[in-house]
């Protein structure tokens, strides 16, 4: 069981499978999880907390039955334990108003429009996760393999220097 979780939420199973396939390369170091509704995502997050797992990135559709994606992101942003998680909207259906809302109140980190390119989705996710790891993880080295190695190594280097300078 990995320490960090990537959670994808979309009511369309086909879309969800595509996203999972695109992000499969990250599954060695992150638990790649999928939920077909916000309700399911909530349940999962509660459960994962009990398992001492942390949400590193959520990739969420907007227009879904029940709670909308943007509202869920806002909800997460307001809870301390998920505030740090990177938040990505993957949608073709969020209007300007919703998007602004997500940015201002949901701490939105990235917006990907459907349809998307697999390699771009992977690259953006990688970048966001790198930032997340740099901010939240001590053991950077093990993530260098899958994430932005250059960024991680320079961060490791910087950390060492600051330690030796102390």
């Amino acid at each position: 069981m990995n320490k960090y979780i990537i959670l994808c939420v979309d009511d369309e199973r086909e879309v969800l499978d595509s996203v999972l396939a695109d992000l499969d390369g990250l599954s060695e170091l992150f638990d790649l999880e999928a939920a077909q509704s916000v309700d399911e995502a909530r349940d999962f997050l509660t459960e994962s907390q009990q398992n001492q797992q942390t949400l590193a990135l959520i990739l969420c559709d907007h227009l879904m039955p029940g709670t909308k994606g943007v509202d869920f992101l806002i909800e997460l942003q307001q809870q301390g334990e998920y505030k740090a998680a990177k938040k990505v909207l993957l949608t073709g259906q969020a209007g300007l108003e919703d998007t602004v809302e997500a940015l201002n109140r949901g701490g939105l980190d990235f917006y990907i429009a459907k349809p998307w390119q697999g390699d771009e989705l992977f690259a953006h996710t990688q970048e966001l996760l790198t930032d997340y790891i740099l901010d939240n993880e001590k053991d950077l080295m093990r993530y260098a393999r899958l994430l932005d190695a250059e960024k991680i190594f320079s961060a490791i280097h910087a950390r060492r220097q600051s330690i030796s300078n102390d």
Partner: protein, 644 residues
């Protein structure tokens, strides 16, 4: 016995009228001819030999005519009125002759001279009877009954202004010296002349100023009919016919009028009979103008009505387009998901398939791969929740989350399968093996997913095709449920946040124009979505029933929105009623369109609604007869207008 003609030619109508009244005494034995110009005289084709006297204005054109006449009929006396240009008179004298030059007003002396000239003429023609001699002898009082022939002369040549000026000026002249009865009046602004619906005893000639005619309107307002200006007559119709006044007339400015009451009018016509002709003409002219005016107005109204009809048709069309536009936007969104999935799928397949073909695998793995691929292609994928649950259970067997999840997806996670396929391998080999199989799984799953998505797109397109289609002329038997379902597909995107409860009873096929009906379902569902503002529940139910011994079906669309107040329920079908805000469907004429379509289908639409806090809803019930062979099509009329 020949009746001789007295010809008067003058371009000034007033002058003609003066001549007419001066010569009226001769009217009993002569035909008095009044002409505005020489053309008209020529057109009259009088026998030149029958002309006993010519009184003419002297212009270059009458000069020619007078000369010609004088050459052929030198006996005809020629009188001219004081010419404005002196040079013409010597010309006439030289070319023909002039018997008398008259001032505007013919004095008694001059009249006497005229009589003498006539006597002379008649004597030459041997036509001077005793009777005529008595008449022309001079002293007999003027006849009060001049021949009717003189009354209806050529007023057609007078313009409206000239004719009215003629009458009004004459009236002024008549009353100039003797206006005991106060006929000539000056009204201040807002003076009431006639009052609509009341009897009117007087006739007004407007000499100067403006009088407004107005009629009261059904909603207790007033509408201006026209404004009469100088030269017009007010009160004429009610004065003559005795009917109540048709309009109320009121002065808009200071106004000078000649007001004649019935008895005054009678006296006037008796004492100034020469006025009867011009007056009658003026009256007829007035009425004719009013009639023409109202005919023109009617024609204008007709064309306005036609353009209104066209505008209405266009509005309906625009509404259709507006709804369609929003639907299309929704559909574009709706298409986006399957398109995205398909694109992702093909993209993945592009790398996975060549990769798998390149692998040199043992037969066992390849067989298992093929089975996995086939399996993934056929089955409905497990729910994400179930996958998670089973992944968790499988982690002890497979070591980590990623491998366990893959195994679950391929349904190779059961202990039996694990033992069958992976028990003999070491963890590293198992990992390799599962990752390889996952490629097969992905290929199968994406093929299935592409298939599912393409089918969804096909369904959407099928629904759209109906929207774009045109109903056939004849009503057809159609499955109402199919139409509703197609409409729901179109709205799928919007309806995501809704609980859609469908209660379909078994109903017969209905004879109808299915595409028109689709417009109804579209409007009703769009309204329900708008009313609930994006979240709520929508119930759609169908049933069959019997009404007036005929089979009907009923389609109900109910939403749990805030409801419509009782007072507004009747208004919602009106054309301009809308509660639509930005972002809503259509222009707010949807229900009007619905009602029209339903009416053409001989059906009925009713609304029931409740605004109570606990139980608020709005329900539209659409009743349609099952057998319905004759349905008028709107498309006909509309297309006709569009093609113009």
């Amino acid at each position: 016995m020949t009746r001789y003609e007295l010809v008067c030619v003058h371009s000034d109508p007033e002058q003609l009228l003066l001549l007419q009244s001066s010569l009226a005494v001769l009217g009993s034995h002569f035909n008095l001819r009044l002409y505005r110009d020489h053309h008209h005289w020529q057109q009259a084709e009088l026998s030149p030999s029958a002309i006993a006297l010519i009184v003419a204005e002297l212009t270059s054109s009458t000069l020619t005519l007078l000369s010609q006449h004088a050459q052929q009929h030198p006996e005809t006396p020629i009188l001219v009125l004081t010419p404005s240009e002196l040079s013409l008179l010597p010309c006439l004298i030289n070319q023909a002759r002039v018997d008398l030059v008259l001032e505007g007003n013919i004095s008694d002396t001059q009249l006497h001279q005229i009589n003498q000239l006539l006597c002379h003429f008649l004597r030459q023609r041997q036509g001077l009877t005793q009777e005529l001699q008595t008449l022309l002898g001079g002293t007999s009082p003027p006849s009060l009954n001049p021949s009717q022939q003189t009354q209806f002369l050529d007023y057609g040549l007078y313009s409206d202004t000239e004719l009215s000026a003629l009458v009004i000026n004459t009236l002024y002249r008549v009353f100039k010296e003797n206006d005991e009865q106060h006929v000539c009046r000056n009204y201040s602004k807002n003076h009431l002349l006639t009052r609509e619906g009341e009897h009117n005893n007087a006739l007004w000639f407007i000499a100067k100023g403006e009088v407004q005619l107005k009629k009261s309107t059904p909603n207790s307002g007033e509408q201006e009919v026209t404004v009469m200006r100088s030269g017009s007559m007010v009160g004429g119709m009610s004065f003559i016919t005795g009917e109540p006044a048709f309009t109320t007339s009121i002065t808009l400015t200071e106004t000078e009028v000649i007001k004649l009451e019935k008895n005054q009018f009678a006296t006037l016509m008796k004492s100034n009979s020469e006025l009867l002709g011009p007056f009658t003409h003026l009256l007829l002219r007035n009425f004719n103008r009013r009639l023409q005016g109202s005919i023109i107005t009617k024609l204008k109204l007709q064309s306005t009505l036609q353009s209104l009809d066209a505008a209405h048709a266009q509005l309906v069309e625009t509404e259709k387009m507006a709804v369609l536009g929003q639907l299309v936007a929704g559909i574009a969104h709706e298409l986006n998901n399957p398109v995205a999935a398909i694109l992702r799928g093909t993209d993945t397949l592009k790398t996975k398939v060549p990769f798998l073909l390149d692998q040199d695998l043992d037969i066992k793995t390849r067989q298992l791969g093929a089975t996995t691929l086939n399996h993934a292609m056929k089955i409905t994928p497990l729910s994400t929740a179930l996958i998670r649950q089973r992944t968790k259970a499988a982690i002890p067997l497979f070591g980590n989350n990623a491998l366990a999840r893959k195994a679950v997806q391929m349904e190779l996670d059961s202990p039996e399968k694990f033992h069958q396929h992976f028990a003999k391998s070491n963890p590293s080999e198992m990992g390799q093996s599962i990752k390889m199989l996952d490629n097969y799984y992905l290929v199968g799953n994406f093929l299935r997913s592409i298939d599912v998505c393409a089918k969804r797109i096909a369904d959407l397109v099928k629904g759209l095709k109906h929207y774009a289609g045109q109903d056939v002329e004849q009503a057809v038997f159609a499955d109402i449920h199919e139409g509703i379902e197609e409409t729901l597909v179109i709205f799928e995107n919007k309806l995501k946040a809704y609980e859609v409860i469908k209660t379909y009873q078994s109903i017969p096929l209905v004879q109808c124009h299915p595409i028109e009906l689709q417009q109804i379902w579209t409007n009703l569902i769009a309204n329900a979505i708008d009313a609930t503002q994006g979240v709520g529940s929508i119930q759609i139910s169908t049933s069959s029933l019997v009404r007036d011994q005929r089979d009907y079906i009923c389609v109900s669309v109910e939403d749990n929105g805030p409801g419509i107040a009782k007072s507004k329920q009747a208004a919602i079908f009106e054309l301009n009623y809308t509660t639509k805000r930005e972002g809503n469907f259509g222009l707010g004429i949807g229900l009007t369109v619905c009602q029209q379509i339903i009416k053409r289908h001989h059906g009925e639409i009713t609304v029931s609604s409740c605004t109570d806090e606990e139980n608020h809803f709005t329900r539209f019930d659409v009743y349609l007869p099952v057998i319905n062979p004759i349905i008028k099509q709107r498309a006909r009329a509309e297309n006709l207008q569009e093609s113009q």
